[in-house]
Amino acid sequence: MLSFSRDLEAGRCAFADRHDFRFELNWRRVDGPPDFDRMLSDYAARLAGEGDGQPRRCDKGAWKGLSADVGGVRTTRFGRYFGDQGCLVELVFLWPAQHDCNLEDDCLSGFTTALHDGNRPQRWRAFGMDLLASRGLALSEVTVQPAHARLVFGRPTRGRCEIFERRGLVQEWLDMPLGEWLRRTAPPGMRVEGERRLERRGHEIHEVRCTRRLAPVRRALGLSRHFEAAAWICPRDSRLYSTSVSYVGKTAIGAGPFAGRILGCCEKVDIDVKD
């Protein structure tokens, strides 16, 4: 992935491989279904006016498409309106080599939108992670760097916050036991209440539970800030997966076990939504 957006109203994700094949996903909330025929004919006319070759319609199922040679590269562009979301989606393929119709068909037929149900956890699949964030928590932060992806739901300083991370190059920077590293991820002032290590299908999972006393007024109400976290190294891709949940409450709710319940790494530790 070369670029991404987290704006639900309008945005773009762009993917490319080293051979210049490029795939773009654009979305925009609109009030109603657009006039695709007019849009595509305008676009075709513009391409023809700019001297780009042979624009022609190539609708596939519900996708309205146009194929053309733009700058000498075969480009196929498909649009579709998803009424349940009020969202206009455009998929663009740039084929520097051969036009792979099978791949194109797979992308188009496999594209679906997910309705956000406020009563259920939100499932996200991004940057090598498969995760379930609690209902009502908004995605507040996305960090994507080489060998490090981090998604934050909620605000770390107030209320409930859930953080999901995936790190690579582990052998280069992890210079302590994983359990100790996990303890150090706890926010300052946290007291470790419990730790455990469990095994799940070849994955050694470390979990830690911490609490911190709050200001006197909230303490008088019996409230504490709780922090629960888990980390493991997936033997399949040698990446370190970690997740943490912090919240204010009277008692720890026991958010774990985390692996495979709210964060999955591979098919052995996969999210089972039925859990």
Binding site: P146, A147, L169, E172
Partner: protein
Amino acid sequence: MSKTEVTTSIVSSRSSWRRMLRARMVRNAAAQVARESDGTIAVMVSAERPRWMVPPLRWMVPFKPQRTLRLDKLGSRVWDLCDGQCTVEDIIDRFAARHELTFHEARVSVTSYLKELIARGALVVVIE
């Protein structure tokens, strides 16, 4: 920017993308290389006195005729791959394979590091 312009700009950047991947990295022949016991590398690069460094500025601003770049372990591995034979694509591939990264993850890390070494005079890029 219209969609056509976006697509055209993508297309025009493709040739530079391919050239970048095919480029070869050559070490500065004048640089001295010292390998440390922990596997890291120090590269000593001679620097020319800048033209603007004339008296009285020259008397006040210290000038080091040789700069030492200390490469960490990852940087040292990248340096080892810059043998004048490997292309940038080869270096990225080997780095990615060794560290179990995707091509693009390794590309971002490796190319930014190579740019830094080029800027500091340790490497030159040969584009054929």
